[in-house]
């Protein structure tokens, strides 16, 4: 019966709806096609304009920068235009075709067509200047917009297939047909569903009534709407409502309890996880602290009731016991005597009780029976109850004590050096007169004058005294006047042929000198005379230690220290050329060794075989060369001295030449002599005048600056150290401000100090050391004036 009703409704409504749909669709298609075509041309025109603007921008660039006459520039602009148009083509609809006036394709979305000629195409003839639109067929219906670009005689055309342009809108007629048919079917189905919904509640009520009739109280009938069927169904359903509510409440309680149990379970798991992580962290911390104990250079142990309970590896190493061998043993066995044991015990107890920690130095008895100097630092685990144990940190002071002694020795040598240097400087000034005046006087004496001999003796004595002063200066570490590359092997070979070696052989005939030279010895940088003197001093000392004869070894070698060598001194890592002198003599005591480099400290009788400066000169020389000394001596094996000279990296060769007298005379040039010593000024004036120069003198730097402000001098002889005023360098700096080209020679009783070197680097001036000879000063003056 319901099926019949629905059929009637469909047959009546469906034809009517189909008719309405078809009329509407036809009208819509006609109007929308017109609109779409117009819209498509607008889109194509806009893109054409955009493409032409690209060309215009490039043309404007060419015009703005006057590049139109440069073919490559125009070509580049055109290439850039094409490139920009390619990017433009990617946006929106419309394919851009760029043609020249002959129809040759300059750009096309199909690269194969670039360079081909399209003037034969039907549509080409329709491209009339300056712009327009067209439609054409080429395997489909196409719409196009075009525009001429006059400066380059180019045509820019944007075209697209109508189907593509219209897109989904182009399929409107199909859409409408589908819509009509589909709409009719949908309506028919809707009508059927509506009819069934009206009939369905009646069917459900009928079935429910039958079940109730059979006594089935579980049956429920769906309630919808507010009609009579709904009221009937509601009454039916109320019959089992109370029972259902009871069951629902029970289920809810079970659910809540389950949730609670789940939460408790999660919390327990979390706590377990945290506990595991804490255990791991604790274990890692223990391992770290244990590693600290193992790595510590300090001996660490726990003492309970003065019995060693436990100690780390360093403790056993310092005390020379096997690992763990002291555990549980009384600490008394570490002390040489009861008194010291008690002293340490009571001090530690007293200090620990008052301040919490205590510290003291003591000597402990090592496992091998030797004593070791240690510092003990202790801290009780419980300051109020020492019986709970005391933690002890033990530091081996042996090496620190050794280094402290070396430092004291170096400081002492430095202080002695300073004293000797000061004395030597004054002596140098005094000796200048002894060296210089005899020479000047002899120039005025006839060749057969009886005074010549005593004057020569006086001059020679002065020069010998100067040599001793030079020793003092060397020892004072101010005495290396030149730095030149030195081959120690060549130096030793020269030395073997020297008079000094003859003297050594004649004074010590029972001593056999053996020489061992390493091939390819590294060069060093320094003063040959100082190095020779040091070697000679060592050889004479060695020979004199072997009164009954023996073998004296002189050797050279290359030594490359990968790490510092600790001996008499700490020799840093590096490359060294080493000179070794070894005797088989009587050796030295430890006290002798400690003081062997002090000036005037000698085991020999003073005045018998030297000045007492021999080893001090060796020390001064090696320090001036940036080197180091190693010395070992014993009564049985004699003494071995090694001089470590740093191997040179770069070499500068400078040679001083002596000039013949006639080449150093002056031509009346004016010299300004600046020196705070009247005697020095007098000597310099005498020499300068003798050589044919005019002279002026100033006794201070300040006076020289004032002189230069108003006067000229061809050359200034400038003393470096002047007191109490400014020194030579400061004097020069102020003179330079007045006379930037002023020539100078720097003169000093000291050897080249840093101030002298700074002045030389700044000016390139020559340096003359006092006491100077007529030749040396004359040559320096001449060279400076001719620079």
């Amino acid at each position: 019966m319901p099926m019949k009703i629905s059929r009637k409704i469909i047959l009546l409504v469906l034809p009517l709806l189909l008719g309405i749909f078809l009329v509407s669709a036809g009208t819509s298609y006609y109007l929308s096609h017109l609109s779409l075509t117009d819209l498509a041309f607008q889109v194509l025109k806009a893109k054409t304009t955009e493409a032409v603007e690209v060309l215009e921008r490039q043309q404007l660039l060419l015009e703005t920068f006057a590049l139109e006459g440069i073919p490559a520039g125009v070509h580049k602009a055109q290439l850039d235009s094409i490139q920009t148009i390619e990017a433009l083509e990617q946006e929106g609809q419309g394919r851009v075709i760029v043609l020249d006036q002959n129809g040759v394709v300059l750009h096309h979305s199909e690269p194969d067509l670039v360079g081909s000629r399209l003037s034969g195409a039907d549509w080409f003839a329709k491209l009339l200047p300056p712009n327009g639109t067209l439609t054409y067929n080429q395997g489909g219906s196409f719409l196009a917009s075009y525009q001429y670009f006059q400066p380059w005689q180019w045509i820019v055309m944007v075209s697209e297939e109508e189907q593509v342009l219209f897109g989904p809108a182009g399929k409107i007629h199909s859409y409408l047909a589908i819509f009509c048919t589909g709409g009719a079917i949908v309506l028919a189905i809707a009508l059927m569903v509506l009819t069934r919904q009206l009939v369905a509640p009646l069917q459900r009520l009928t079935a429910g009534a039958k079940e109730i009739g059979r006594g089935n109280m579980d049956i429920r009938i769906a309630v919808s709407g507010r009609d009579e069927f709904a009221d009937l169904a509601e009454v039916f359903n109320q019959m089992t409502q109370e029972l259902q509510q009871l069951l629902d409440g029970l289920e809810q309680r079970v659910l809540e309890r389950t949730e609670e149990l789940t939460e408790v379970n999660v919390r327990l798991k979390q706590e377990m996880q945290e506990k595991t992580m804490a255990m791991k962290a604790l274990s890692a911390s223990e391992r770290r602290l244990s590693a600290i104990l193992r790595a510590s250079p300090i001996g660490i142990g726990l003492v309970i009731d003065r019995t060693l309970d436990w100690a780390n590896e360093a403790m056993y190493q310092i005390l020379h016991y096997d690992m763990n061998s002291l555990a549980g043993k009384p600490s008394r066995l570490l002390y040489a005597n009861e008194k010291e044991y008690e002293r340490v015990g009571s001090w530690l107890a007293q200090e620990a009780a008052t301040s919490g920690t205590s510290q003291l130095e003591t000597s402990l008895l090592r496992g091998d029976g030797k004593l070791v100097n240690c510092r003990i630092k202790a801290a009780p685990l419980d300051p109020h109850d020492l019986s709970s144990g005391v933690l002890v940190a033990l530091t081996d002071l042996s090496e620190a004590k050794l280094l402290e002694a070396k430092l004291q020795r170096a400081q002492k040598m430095e202080a002695i050096g300073l004293l000797a240097g000061g004395v030597a400087h004054d002596l140098n000034n005094i000796l200048s007169a002894l060296v210089s005046y005899p020479e000047l006087i002899m120039l005025d004496l006839p060749a057969d004058s009886p005074l010549r001999k005593p004057l020569t003796t006086m001059k020679n004595s002065g020069e010998r005294a100067a040599v001793i002063v030079q020793d003092l200066l060397t020892m004072a570490r101010r005495g290396v006047p030149v730095r030149e590359p030195i081959n120690l092997n060549a130096l030793v070979n020269e030395l073997l042929d020297s008079p000094e070696m003859g003297l050594l052989a004649s004074e010590h005939p029972a001593v056999q000198l053996e020489v061992q030279l390493e091939e390819n010895l590294a060069l060093i940088e320094g003063s040959k005379s100082h190095v020779v003197k040091s070697i000679v001093n060592l050889l004479f000392n060695g020979a004199e230690a072997m009164r009954d004869g023996g073998q004296l070894l002189l050797a050279t070698s290359n030594i490359h220290l990968q790490e510092p060598m600790v001996g008499y001194e700490v020799v840093p890592a590096g490359r060294y050329a080493v000179v070794l002198v070894r005797d088989q003599g009587t050796g030295m005591t430890k006290t002798d060794l400690d003081r062997v480099f002090e000036p005037f400290y000698t085991r020999k009788q003073m005045g018998r075989s030297g000045s007492g400066l021999g080893m001090a000169v060796v020390w001064g020389t090696i320090k001036d060369h940036g080197g180091f000394v190693s010395i070992e001596s014993s009564r049985e094996r004699g003494t071995t001295v090694e001089l470590f000279f740093p191997a040179a990296e770069t070499m500068l060769q400078t040679e001083a030449e002596q000039a013949p007298l006639e080449k150093i005379t002056g031509r009346g040039e004016k010299l300004l002599i600046v020196d705070d010593s009247a005697a020095q000024r007098e000597i310099a004036v005498s020499i300068a005048r003798r050589l044919g120069y005019q002279t002026e003198t100033c006794d201070s730097g300040e006076m020289a600056i004032a002189y230069c402000a108003d006067n000229d001098a061809d050359l200034i002889l400038l003393d470096m150290i002047m007191e109490p005023g400014i020194d030579g360098l400061d004097t020069y700096l102020q003179i330079e401000a007045i006379k930037p080209q002023q020539k100078i020679i720097i003169v000093s009783g000291y050897s080249e100090s840093e101030r002298v070197q700074e002045l030389q680097q700044r000016t390139g001036c020559l340096y003359v050391q006092k006491p100077y000879s007529l030749e040396s000063l004359g040559a320096a003056i001449r060279n400076s004036l001719e620079q």
Partner: protein, 536 residues
């Protein structure tokens, strides 16, 4: 249980005791000085704002910082240096205002006449104004229209009349040329002359001494803001002869040396595990600059003839093959936007493929059928010398006789700036196309007579407007087109002949670790930083 507890307690107390005994870990590289052998016999300028020669850039890189910096070994990538972040800008009344926020706690090295102190905006303002002053900077043109102000102790405002794209602005405040930040107080204390002899900056290493013609010593800056350098210092040894550098490396007196591009030179290190060769950029560009005002090169036919006589292959053969490649425009397309690639240059007909018969015909047309002679000045540096010699060899084939005078590198720099040369070879790296074009071809940069004389050796003045328009352009594609058009004009006028780029080659002991990747550096050496180490 008791034992375990006691042990733990002991460990804690031991840790405390160790603290009281003053046991400190020693730096991993205590006493380590890295010795770098450079290929020149003397330094040029120690003031970073005049640093043009390679050795000067090396020194400046270690002693100074910029507001931003090229990532060590990874140029041209940039990152903040003395600034806390990459600066940003706002446009106000047509002007571009950049705001730079400075790091706090950056310390200068102590100067000879002033103690160390914290860098502030005052130092930045002072530095950028110094860079803008032609008397105190060789790069003044890049900073002249800048208004630089200290907004507060750690903020600097830079206002530009003509806006710059970040691509052009950042290189100017980077650790390169005028971007280095110098110590105001040091210069006030000792004057500009004093500063030029003892530069003072904030870098990882402080200047110590310069032994003329021999060595520059730098010491670690313990207060360096990125952390105390792992090295104790750096020494720059000046050894112009390659064999001297190699000998020193072999003897262990040098740790890193500048390599040689001599063909086959590198093979001596083949199979060695104790030394490592590093090839890296950026490539310095070699170009011959033709002075278009000096006869006979004032005739374009002569310049075109020279271009047709030159064969890039010949110049490439003077160096190891792995070291470089040919370039066809002033701005290297391999490294920077705005350059012209070989294919494009050929398409435009500006490649000047070797044609010596055509070259001779052009010379005859210009009135030099028998050729002519010119005097040229070359540096003693190998790369200059061999390229000048190759130039002379190639030009001789068309009748042009080159008389070469070889002088120390620094002297060549003076000579080519003081006296116009008919042909000048210059090998240089510039951070962007604008810098290349401005410094080599803007009329303001003409040596001697320009408003801001720089390195326009060609006396060229025909692309000023293009350069300036390119500088103002914000659109990257458009900016690139303007730069390319400028170079097309240059090639059409044949004001310069771009030859090749040459990468860097350094040799180091395997024990040396620069502490960063090494692909490109603007400092033209591998860059020694606070992270560099040597394991002797």
């Amino acid at each position: 249980m008791y034992t375990r507890f006691a042990q733990r307690l002991c460990l804690v107390i031991v840790a405390v005791l160790l603290g009281t005994l003053d046991i400190q870990p020693q730096p991993a590289n205590a006493g380590q000085v890295l010795r770098l052998g450079l290929h020149v016999s003397k330094m040029g300028k120690l003031d970073p704002h005049f640093a043009a020669a390679a050795q000067d850039r090396v020194l400046a890189d270690m002693v100074f910082n910029g507001l931003v910096r090229y990532k060590p070994g990874m140029a041209p990538q940039l990152e903040p240096d003395l600034a806390v972040e990459m600066p940003g800008f706002e446009m106000k009344d047509g002007r571009q205002e950049w705001t730079v926020k400075l790091r706090q706690g950056v310390m200068f090295h102590p100067g000879p006449q002033n103690p160390t102190y914290e860098m502030t905006s005052e130092d930045v303002v002072f530095s950028l104004l110094k860079s803008a002053n032609p008397e105190h900077s060789s790069d003044a043109g890049n900073y002249s229209a800048w208004k630089v102000e200290a907004a507060d102790r750690y903020t600097v405002k830079i206002t530009l009349e003509h806006p710059l794209s970040p691509a052009l602005f950042f290189p100017r405040i980077a650790n390169y040329s005028g971007g280095f930040i110098v110590s105001k107080k040091a210069i006030e204390a000792m004057g500009y002359q004093g500063f030029s002899e003892h530069p003072v900056g904030t870098g990882p290493f402080a200047f110590s001494t310069y032994q003329q013609g021999k060595m520059v010593a730098l010491t670690a800056h313990p207060d360096y803001f990125r952390g105390t350098p792992r090295l104790d210092g750096v020494e720059l040894h000046l050894l112009a002869k390659t064999e001297d550098r190699v000998a020193a490396l072999e003897q262990g007196t040098l740790d890193v040396i500048v390599g040689s591009g001599d063909v086959g030179w590198i093979s001596q290190f083949d199979g060695r595990t104790d030394v490592i060769a590093d090839y890296f950029g950026v490539g310095e560009i070699s170009s011959f600059y033709f002075n278009i005002t000096l006869p006979p090169l004032d005739d374009i036919r002569v310049r075109q003839a020279i271009a047709l006589a030159l064969d890039r292959e010949g110049f490439m053969a003077t160096s190891d093959r792995g070291l470089g490649d040919k370039v066809f425009s002033q701005v290297p397309s391999q490294f920077l936007p705005g350059g012209l690639e070989e294919e494009m240059v050929r398409k435009l007909g500006l490649d000047f493929t070797v044609d010596r018969e055509r070259a001779k015909a052009l010379l005859a047309e210009a009135g030099y059928p028998e050729g002519f002679s010119i005097d040229l000045v070359s540096s003693e540096k190998r790369v200059y010398r061999v390229m000048y010699e190759e130039l002379a060899k190639q030009l001789a084939q068309v009748g042009i006789n080159c008389r070469l005078q070889v002088v120390p590198h620094a002297d060549m720099h003076k000579a080519i700036r003081n006296t116009p040369q008919p042909i000048t070879l210059y090998i240089a790296w510039r951070p962007n196309a604008d810098s290349y074009l401005t410094r080599f071809f803007h009329s303001d940069s003409i040596i001697g007579s320009g408003a801001k004389p720089d390195t326009n050796f060609s006396a060229y003045r025909n692309i000023d407007k293009l350069i300036e328009a390119g500088r103002r352009e914000i659109d990257p594609a458009r900016q690139s087109q303007l730069w390319q058009q400028a170079q097309i004009k240059l090639l059409s006028d044949m004001a310069a002949f771009p030859v090749m780029y040459i990468s860097q080659l350094f040799i180091r002991r395997a024990a040396v670790d620069y502490g960063h990747q090494l692909e490109n550096t603007m400092a033209l050496y591998p860059q020694i930083t606070e992270m560099s180490t040597i394991d002797r």
